[in-house]
Structure formats: structure tokens, C-alpha cells
């Protein structure tokens, strides 16, 4: 099994695992970019357009777009659709609110040479420990 480990700051405790959905340009927080009740990415131009975030480990460099970012993820969570965990290259306010609000394990603030958006590919199987900041990647290929 081809595996790889990364270590960064645990931002929200808990262990989560699932397939990676890597969004190198993040996901817009604007209304309609993420389906409020189905958790599907509808952002035009997003490499994961049409992908549902449910049970995935979302890998992003940061958040972007509207400050409504957290609210759209939270709405989807209450509707029953949520990512299993977050990995973000760096923490920012938009994402921080989403993490705190949804209570989902998160790891962030990676070293410059360990950017998860570069190291992880969509479909890799990811296990994160939001308390210790450990990330275990099992490569898909």
C-alpha cells in the first residue's frame, strides 16, 4: 500500500477518513456555488463541478468568495450532507467559521513544502486526526 504522512496543526479535534476531493482554487462561498441542501458543487469553473461533498475529506488552500461560505456548508450539514473532514493549506476566517460551526475534524497550517493541495490528489484515501494534526494519505494510484 503506497502511503504518505503529513503533519500540521490540528484545528478541530476528531478522527475522520474518506476519499479526498481536492479543490486547488477552493470553493466559492457565494450563494449557489454549493447546493444548500444537496451539498453539490455548482461553482462554474470549479474542477469538481457536480461533485457532492458528502463524506469526503475536502482539501483546499483556503476559503474564498462570499462570507456566506460557512453558512452554505452548515445548511447542507443540517440537510444531512457534510464533508467528513477538512484539510486546508492555511486557515482563514471564512473556513475557520465553517470548521467551528460544523464541528468537523480539521487540519491546517501546513509547512510551505508540504502543501496538501499539491501532495494529495482527488480520490486518494485520507485519514486525519484533528487533535494531533496528522494526515495519512493512501494514494489511489
Amino acid at each position: 500500500m503506497n502511503t504518505f504522512r503529513l503533519k500540521a496543526r490540528g484545528a478541530y479535534p476528531g478522527i475522520a477518513e474518506g476519499p479526498a476531493v481536492v479543490c486547488p482554487d477552493s470553493i466559492a462561498g457565494n450563494s449557489g456555488a454549493l447546493g444548500d441542501t444537496d451539498g453539490v458543487i455548482y461553482e462554474k469553473g470549479n474542477v469538481n463541478y457536480g461533485v457532492c461533498i458528502n463524506d469526503a475529506i475536502l482539501v483546499v488552500p483556503c476559503a474564498k468568495g462570499s462570507n456566506g461560505f460557512s453558512a452554505h456548508f452548515k445548511g447542507a450539514q443540517i440537510a444531512g450532507v457534510k464533508p467528513a473532514g477538512w484539510i486546508s493549506t492555511r486557515m482563514d476566517a471564512r473556513l475557520g467559521v465553517a470548521v467551528a460551526s460544523m464541528g468537523i475534524p480539521a487540519v491546517t497550517d501546513f509547512a510551505d513544502d508540504e502543501d496538501p493541495v499539491v501532495k494529495i490528489k482527488t480520490g486518494d484515501w485520507i485519514k486525519i486526526d484533528g487533535a494531533t494534526g496528522e494526515v495519512l494519505i493512501t494514494f489511489k494510484y
Binding site: 450563494s31 449557489g32 476559503a63 468568495g65 456566506g68 453558512a71 493549506t89 467559521v97 470548521v99
Partner: protein
Amino acid sequence: MVHLTDYEKQMLDGQMGKFKQKAMQFIVRYAEVLGAEELCQISRATLFIGAQHYLDCYAEDTDYKKIFSEFYLCSDEIVELGEVSECCKTQTCAACCDLREYERTHLSREFHERNRKYLEATKEMGVKIVDSCTPYYVGWVPMMGEHFVTTESSNVVISNTIFGACGNSDGVEAAVCAAITGRIPKWGMHIKENRYATCVFTLDFEVETQMEWDLLGFTLGRLLPKHEVPVIVNGLKNAEINRMRQLCASLSVTSAAEICHIVGLTPEAQTLDMALGGKKPRHQIHVTEKDMEESLSILCDKGSSKVDFVSIGCPHISLDEIREIALYVKGKKLPEGVELQIWTDYATKEMAAVNGYTKLIEDTGAALLTGSCPIVMREDSHRHATAMVMFGAKQAFGIRHQTKVPVYYGEVFSCIDAAYNGRWEEG
């Protein structure tokens, strides 16, 4: 571990009631996620609340106390709603519909009533109903160094950049809890060290019109490396608040920027060295006209066609702009089946009425609307459209997440011409 003052500990312990306790619990949790060491006191807030579509996860008859407790306070326990902090001047941000003109925007009476009900509960908390994404036009102006929260991304950039005030792009839940507690994590833009520019933009061209400023913001956001703070050193002509509004709004569509220094124009960038805090920038980027053309190709579909839905006023426009539009459209008539929506806030619309601008606009068949916009009203408001024209870039880009019909974008008066001609002409 977040260091709390005695006052903050008392709030967290529940000595000021459960409402504030729950809000403080969230603020502390948020601070821990960010890695903040302490909190700071805020004195201004705008909140993106009401029957917003992110609440579509709730059945229509759900008790608002349950919604508020679960969604905003992040509490499993339903608590009695209290009041926002006396120290924090709090008002609503953009709303999910015009408070009066719901039929004209194709929304149902039921949705309109639901929003009114939520806003009435909000008013009881001491939140003023303003429904504006440009609150600085109606008196929400933080001073230099003042700490604020706002759920409007463009207002974050405006308030940090022009007013020198301090705030992050906190989401709705944090903004609500901050307004209740009067506290937000002291982190990011609240700390001077994080406000210095790290990426220098040099323009190979000049921008002058409102659309050019708008398009520049969108372009800079695309080019800005993640996690960096931009400064623009040249190329901006005819600087004024309405152009800055467009630049800041579109910058925050394509990036996570929270401030955008402009050398010689904004208070923390009287010189480039001042903007950089005496340090070397991590990035230097030359922006070309080709970059701007690429942005335009993202925002404006190719070709010419009939159009039947035109929206101006993203973010909400000022009285000066309404006057210009009123005089421009005076005596014209919209073709049958074409809608022209012009968006502002209630106070500005009242002034527009006093000055006769509203009548000039509405006599042509156009609508001067308040408090919302097509993106925030969502699909019900524009599902019938067969081709759209949108200003600004935030609207022209954001609406694409909600529709498959052609979307065109251009200079404000080209967009208005398209409405009265019932047709968008390329080029």
C-alpha cells in the same frame, strides 16, 4: 488556549445568561480553530440574516428559536433569544428579498412573510433592519483601528482598505455571535502585522471607468497567490468610493483578500514601503491587458442576443449613480417582457424618491428595488429569464452558479442600453 478577560469568562460561565453564554462558547471555539490567543472588542456588525436560502434546510414551520439556536449559536439546546451587545452597533446585511416588492421580483408571499417574521425577531434583539451590502452609504462607517464584523465580503475589503478599520471575512455564525458578545478572535486583520502587503501589483495599463475598476478587482483576485495581501502601485484613475466599491467587491469574488492597499490612496499605503511594512514583497506581478481580457471572457458570454433580464447594482448603488441613471433613462420605455432591476438600500431609495429619480426610472418600466439582488434572491427570482445582463462582476459571475442561460456583462450604461433595446450587442 485562548486567554479570556474576567468579563469574557463571566459571559462564558453563563453569568450573563444562556444566550450570551452560547454565543461566547462559539466565539471561543472559533478562536481555537483559528489559533487566536485572545479576543478583541468589536463595535460594529452587519449580519446576513433573515429567511436566507442557507436556511432552506429547515421546514417552513420551524420555530425561529430552534433555527437561531442551532444555526447561529451552534447549540443543540434551544435558548430564549436575547439582545445583541450594547457596545456593538448592529444592522442587517443584504436580504433575501425586497421588504415590499416581492411580487415584482417573482417571489412568493409565503417566502416574503417568512422573511418578515425572521426579521421581526431580529429587531427584537436590537438589530436594525437596514438590508444593505453597502452600509457605508448610510452611516455604518468604522473609524481607523476600530474592530468590526460584517458578513458582506466587499464591505470587509472596503472597511479594512479605505477606513483602516479592522475585520476579517468571518462567516454568518461568527458575526452573529460576535454581535451578541461584542467579541471576536484577535487574529488576521485585527493585528497590524498581518495587514502589511506581501504581493505588489503593477499595471501595464490604466483603469478609469467603473467597469474597468470592477474588472480589475476580479482580475487581481484571480492572479493573487493564496494567503497574500495585495498592494496596487499604479494605474488607477478617477478614484472615488463607487469605483472602489466595485474593485473591492470583485476582488473578494475571486480571492480571499480582506484588504487591498493602493499606494498614495489608502491610509496604510501612503508609500509602497509603508504598505509593505519595510519588508520585501513575496510576489511582484505585472498585470496586463490580456489578463483583463481573460476576466472579461469569464464574465461576459460571446455573441449578441435578445435579453429579458437586466440587473444593475451589485453592490447596492449610491444616490449619485441613481441620479445619473434616472437622467439617462428619462423618457425611455422598456420593451414588453424585459425587466430592468436597479438595486440600492431603503434610505437611498427614499432620497431618490424625494429627488424625483425614482419616478423617472419607474416611468420607463424599470424597478428601483431595495435590500437584495438576484443572486441572493436565488433561482425563483430569475428562473424565467432567457438571457441576462448583469453589473457588476460579482453578480455576473455569481449568477452563473444558478443559471444556464447566457449572461452578459459590460459598462453600466451598455447594460442599461441592452435593457431598453431588449438586446445585447457584442463589442
